[in-house]
Amino acid sequence: MTREQFIEEWSVAQIMPGPNVVNLSLMLGARSFGLPGALAALAGMMTIPLVLVLLLAMVYAQFASHPHVIGALHGMGAVVAGLIIATAIKLSSALKTNSLGIPGCIALGVPCFVGVAFLHWPLAYVLLGLGAVGCLLAYRKLKP
């Protein structure tokens, strides 16, 4: 498989719902060996990490009331929150080339953020409402 093919598969995996890595391994497995290949790739991708993460959770449960462990988890939680915010900031730079334009992206993104983070709107409404508006606007902008 060439680098270009891989990037194409990757972009398809990104626009589909579902975890990107899972979608990508499904598609790569299916491409070479059909459905059995897809399932094998998925199992290979998930099994060992799943066992590891459960073991880690069990070890953590033993020490969950230990004040140092609680402190460490708080520190890690704060870092993870920072990681996700940094990912959002980095992703937002990809919006510069978005056909909705920067004002359009802000007009959609800000209500989405406020609705989900502060008003606890259910996600389905946000995606079906704001997402549909975004897709319709983009569809009109992309008029050939």
Binding site: V12, I48, A138
Partner: protein
Amino acid sequence: MSSAPILALRWTDWLNLFIHYSSFSVLSVGGAITLASEMHRYLVVQQHWLSEAQFSSSIAIAQAAPGPNVLFVALLGWNVGLNSRGTVAALFGVLITMAGMLLPSSTLCCLSARWLHHNRELRVVRAFRQGIGPIVVALMGSTGWILARAQSNPATDWRLWLLTAATALILWRIRIHFLWLLAAGAILGWFGLV
């Protein structure tokens, strides 16, 4: 900090959990982590099946472990089961949440990958990709915000907020592996500095 709730989940509750995760699966454009804020709303705020601490530690542990970050979904299921009936129920919780999270999106992916691949220049496909872009970024941002808020209140825990802000700034501007920062956060927390 709230302690873990004690639950007696019925099969209708498990079905409810499965159906919710199936719907998350279909909605999870941009990865499962963009839906963490929605899972928080469902599991912690609405159903009271998990404590705030369990929710945020599940995500922290899954991020610290190797492997795809979708495994935080498995840990959430694990903890819901654990709160209900112990280890066997916890494994069942993993099965329910992971099957719910993966089956619909994987089926959709396998069915439509070929079609999308051949039609990636199509106007509908490009419009979907671009229209959903700002929403995905905003969802990611709100997940970060909810995680930062979950374990701290700004008046007393300002050092945790500072750590979150510093991490975001460092990861945004500097190329450094995230695990170093995670270790630093763990050490700072261990010694009670944040």
